[in-house]
Homo-oligomer: 332 residues x 2
């Protein structure tokens, strides 16, 4: 499959009167920022533009929505364009799929590798660190003067998807875009405070409770902990709020593998796996019926939390032993 | 006082045979990265160059020291140049002050506002987000081809001092430098893993213990907690490892003021104060005999931990009430 050019997509957008934007479920900073930036640009151009949602925007991203979002499918009855952003199949917006496909023209802009070219126009580039970077390029092809608000949304998209310019997906381009946004009058620190200094007390209490179950295994090279339904009840937090724990465990000195077991329902345990330098959690995840990347993967285990913990621990111990053997070989 | 040009400083360095570099006590990423980058560059140029230390490099910055550091004052007996980096008075390197002043030429390169021009050559610019940015500029004036290792040290300096490009001191220039470092072959993610994924288990246990004392005050707009000597004993952590807690508390949704009280000795309580958006902790700190910036300040209270906590709580409550009054006024 081949990408359309951003020039073509900009032209189609410029000729439309109404545009409906579709971020994925569980909107993150990249999806929300990309949609907000594009929606504002389209409105400046005089279009009837809206972001259509089927779930809530996380509290720390609400600042991006300056009246752009709606849950009302009839906000635009017969949209000229339906455009999905940061996602590439209707399974990522199931309740809105029918509405999406009713667009006279459909467009997909995304940076996920798994995305299929299912729209009339598609631009998918998995080299891009964030969909926000593609939107930045698209804005340049559009007849619109970008402003601080658009810049703040683009910055939110890029900084969240690159882990504040620390993840390995970060590109030279990510920094060059951030640098250019300074010329648009962006208040970066304001964006950063909104995104990162808006942590619910319930999340902090959940994290504290979960950390009490932290166990170090494999001679200090593995770390795992559990988040139970009971912890959610006790703290009032939601399971989403356990996000980031696997990353925190991997950050422990000497730890090569980390696992966080999340009890979504009794006997439905989702496992987040992380590796630091040498490890490969994609293999572990696939042995447990899941999948993912080398350094970040996951799976779902249908067993009790205690049983799932034993299974994961066994896999981590085996992987750590393997790691030790490989290191010994290299030292011969 | 007037800065010398980086060209002048580069010329003096190029004419020297031996150079001793002086980072400040409690070396941070900016000091360690700046020194490592410059030391390597000087060695590539054939100089006898060393970083002279009087305390340990933190574990997560050790990767920057590829044989550059020494605690031996006689490593260079009569240095042509002694150069202090990321600090601007001998009080920041008290045990090495005499050695520093023995340099045939002394140079100061720094970005702190309080720095005095006390050397033969000085370059101080408080607009710069990190001293690493000044070293980057200095390298351009020097007759040396920068490589990945130098780039990694510069990146370590900039990313730590800008809070991963999130603090308000971050500049367009910070991003432009990071972008240019890509051309030097830097492995950014490797640097990031070294710096941030090297957290001692003791630190994590200390944080968990301290979080148990977290109290929310002032109708949710204030947060404070204590780190006691007893917690250090129980966890084996050092007081340095409580760093970052005031920032974590400020990040709680709704919290405008945060305070962390650290019992360094019985009846010697150091207090870290933070404000989020509207607050001014510099005023609070000065009422308690300390000082600092608008959003980050501190003081030392000579009282028991419990008494200090009552004093700080009173000040926070008063500041929060003041904040409420100002908001009410604005809404009239």
């Amino acid at each position: 499959m081949k990408n359309n050019s951003l020039k073509e997509i900009a032209k189609v957008l410029s000729e439309a009167e109404s545009v409906l934007l579709f971020p994925h479920l569980n909107t993150d900073g990249d999806a929300a920022g990309s949609c907000a930036a594009l929606c504002r640009a389209l409105r400046i151009m005089g279009k009837d533009a809206w972001i259509l949602l089927e779930d809530d925007i996380p509290a720390n991203l609400l600042f991006l929505d300056k009246g752009y979002s709606t849950a009302d499918k009839d906000k635009i009855k017969e949209p000229d364009i339906c455009m999905c952003i940061d996602c590439g199949d209707t399974g990522r917006f199931p309740e809105r799929a029918e509405k999406f496909l009713s667009g006279k023209t459909t467009i997909c802009v995304d940076h996920h590798m798994t995305t299929e070219y299912f729209c009339d126009l598609n631009f998918v580039d998995s080299e891009e660190a964030a969909t926000g970077q593609i939107i930045f390029d698209l804005l340049k092809e559009m007849d619109v003067m970008p402003d601080a608000e658009i810049g703040e949304a683009i910055f939110a998209a890029i900084t969240t998807d690159t882990g504040d310019f620390q993840y390995s997906n970060t590109q030279k381009k990510s920094h060059l875009i951030a640098a250019e946004l300074y010329d648009w009058g962006v208040d970066f620190n304001k964006v950063s405070v909104e995104i990162y200094e808006n942590v619910r007390m319930e999340k902090i209490m959940l994290k504290n409770k979960a950390m009490e179950t932290l166990r170090i295994i494999g001679k200090g090279r593995g770390a795992l902990l559990c988040v139970s339904l009971e912890m959610l009840r006790a703290t009032g937090a939601s399971m989403d709020e356990s996000e980031g724990l696997a990353q925190d465990l991997r950050a422990i000195s000497g730890v090569e593998y980390s696992a966080v077991l999340k009890e979504y329902e009794p006997d439905v345990i989702k496992v987040s796996l992380r590796a630091k330098r040498e490890g490969n959690v994609s293999e572990i995840a696939s042995r447990l019926g899941g999948g993912g990347h080398l350094k970040a993967a996951g799976c779902t285990i249908r067993a009790s939390l205690a049983e799932a913990e034993r299974m994961v621990e066994r896999e981590l111990e085996a992987a750590i032993e393997e790691l030790g053997k490989n290191e010994a070989k290299r030292n011969i």
